[in-house]
């Protein structure tokens, strides 16, 4: 009994630093954000802040000038594009490289390189690519006689094209990241399984479809969660490329939150958006986990 107590105390003491860090860095700020979201906090000090209950939430959902629904819609669209375009592309590359093609390491490095580059640098790079006056995109289109394809206002200045133009660098940057995750999974699939399937007459495509992909489902789940939550939290690249413009066409909750917090000094409203973003990320992570659980290859729930 004494030993058990001693062991429990020891375990607790070893856990304590991590627990303090977890509460201090993660839990406490979330709680504080929830508290601030209930106040009309319009200055950098908490002096004179007024309790308004769910007033910020109500304003966020009903105000036409804040455009939260537009921002949320853009985030969900980015998440959908990530899941249905970026991840299949990553999976395709991972399956291809996982077979052991010549120059595998070089390809891995090339695909992963954008992940290592600062997002701000990537943003500036793509701003140059899209530039209506000297951008390489227009130059290339011009070679094919399609120089008039650019929409009015430029690629990043047109409401219809801006979101797509923001998505392309995102895809380019993170396709290597997801590919590396999946590649690690593909390489961990036992060669015996592949060999057995081949002996049974399975083609490469069938091996991938019925052996490899089911085996790496846990990694696919992680990738989907990262892609969706990453899209919901996306900020840096959009901030550099368009800062949410033109006319909120590329607005996402993060850019809206920064606008509220640091440009409008509406700290209560900014906290409200932060709380909603946390809630959405949790909700999607749970939903995605549940979806993948339902389809577990072993039929377990």
């Amino acid at each position: 009994m004494k030993n058990k107590t001693y062991r429990n105390v020891t375990v607790f003491l070893f856990l304590l630093p991590g627990l303090i860090l977890f509460i201090g860095v993660l839990i406490a700020p979330i709680i504080m954000s929830v508290v601030y979201s209930l106040y009309d906090l319009r200055s950098i000090s908490t002096q004179g802040m007024e309790f308004i209950g769910l007033g910020n939430y109500q304003e966020l959902f009903t105000s036409g000038s804040i455009s939260f629904w537009k921002a949320l819609g853009n985030s969900l669209l980015l998440a959908a594009l990530s899941v249905f375009i970026q991840l299949p592309l990553s999976l395709g590359l991972a399956l291809m490289l996982g077979k052991g093609v010549k120059g595998e390491r070089a390809f891995l490095s090339v695909y992963f390189l954008p992940v290592l580059i600062s997002t701000v640098v990537i943003g500036q790079l793509w701003r140059k690519i899209y530039n209506p006056d000297y951008g390489i995109l227009n130059a290339v289109l011009g070679l094919f006689g399609a120089s008039n394809v650019m929409p009015t206002g430029g690629w990043l200045g047109n409401v219809s094209s801006a979101l797509w133009c923001v998505f392309i660098p995102t895809l380019w940057q993170y396709v290597g990241y997801h590919m590396l995750l999946m590649y690690a999974g593909v390489r961990s699939v036992s060669p015996d399984l592949r060999e057995a399937a081949k002996l049974d007459g399975a083609t490469d495509a069938q091996v991938d479809r019925y052996i490899v992909i089911p085996c790496i489902k846990p990694i696919l789940r992680v990738s989907v969660i990262f892609a969706v939550t990453g899209s919901l939290k996306s900020f840096d690249l959009i901030y550099v490329l368009t800062n949410g413009g033109p006319f909120h066409a590329t607005e996402v909750p993060s850019t809206l939150m920064i606008n509220m917090l640091f440009e409008r000094n509406r700290y209560g409203m900014g906290s409200t958006i932060a709380v909603l973003m946390i809630a959405l990320c949790f909700a999607f992570a749970i939903i995605i986990s549940a979806v993948f659980k339902e389809r577990d290859i072993y039929g377990k729930k």
């Binding site: 319009r42 200055s43 950098i44 000090s45 002096q47 000038s65 899209y130 530039n131 209506p132 006056d133 009015t152 206002g153 430029g154 690629w155 990043l156 200045g157 047109n158 409401v159 368009t242 800062n243 413009g245 033109p246 006319f247 920064i258 606008n259 640091f262 440009e263 409008r264 000094n265 509406r266 700290y267």
Partner: protein, 457 residues
Amino acid sequence: MKLKKVVALLLAGAMVLSMAACGNDGGASSSAPESSEESSAAPESSEADDSNAEAENTTSGVDLSAADCTLEMWCIATESDSNRHSYEAAIEEMASEYPNITLNWEAFENQSYKTKIKAAMAADEVPDIFFTWSCAFLGDFVAQDKVYCLDETYAEYQSELPEVMMANSTYDGKHYGVPLTMNIVGLFANMELLEEAGYQEIPGTYDEFIACCDALKEKGIIPFGCAGSETWCVTEYLESVIEKSIGADAMNDIFLGRATWNNQEVADAVDTFQSMVTNGYFDPNGISLSNDEVKANFMAGKYAFYMNGTWNCADFANDENFFPKVKVAEFPVINADKSELGQLIGGPSDTLAVTAASENAAVAAKYTFELGKKICHYGYLDGCGLPAWTPYGDTSSVNALTQDVAQICNEAKAYVLFGDTAMNADEANTYLDYVAQVYGSNIDGKGFIEGLAKDIR
């Protein structure tokens, strides 16, 4: 010497014409003196040695020569900023005059600085001295007791820094900022392109101006470049059009909350601006460009006109190929019944302030005045704007473009401060949002005034 007199006179007279109230954010109020007697007390000029010697008389009890400390400063004078050289020259001079005071300074890009300084203030992780915009931007920090009051130190500099120039950083009768330069919105023109369209001078009336734009279009020259990705650049055009349509007084009343936005004349002015956009006077690609890109295009001869702050005179003057081609004027009057030439957009906004949390606040305060005076001096010589301080030393090297700006200001009858500086942060962003929508033709004048009347006041 003639230029010095012009500058001294305009400094004395210009500021009393407008901005009688600003910084009303957070309960802070302006105490700008309105008597011209007070402002005319500013000397026409003073010699550098005299002014420096006077500064050593320490009524605040601070002697910079005896001080020994390290100060931190944040500003926006990045490598690409017009003011960079004036900061470097002033800091170098300060370092040689006060070797025991070490100044560690960092410069940040304009837009990101606004975010950074607010976050730093919230976290109380601020430098001793910081760059700020006057009126509402600084007012928010003052209302939160984050800024050191400069009254005691200012008493030593009153003869060199007219009280009227302090108006935009004065709250409840107390001084909180050291102004550097003052600027207005100028209509810059590439005369080479205008000549191609048959114009030897910048048109003086609105009808001629529009005819000039049409002539430029016919020649395949884009009349205007405007950076849509930085909405403040759009306000430089829109505010000029509104001011020259409804008059400076009416515009000041709206900006300062004394009148509603729901004003049909404002709607008509906005429609006038929008018709210039829809008539193809503006580069359609400008909506996705930054101000640096648009300015580079203007200097490369892509646009005939560029309306922006007169701080750009420095960059234009530094480009020896472009400088001979450029001229500056004020935007022509649209409605002569309401407005007139001499009604300008601008005023002293660039300011240095001291944080209340500074361990060496008193030293930092005096250092800021000395540094501000030198930045102003070099900034004026470089053509970054007109001096908020009484000029000293030899100013004969000031470029011709800045001298033209000085002449425009000398004939000024009224000023309206930049809208996003005059309003508090929330209102300014709402305002900028509507301005962007006007530029993008998402809303018309009616939508502009009704939206602002609903969302701001």
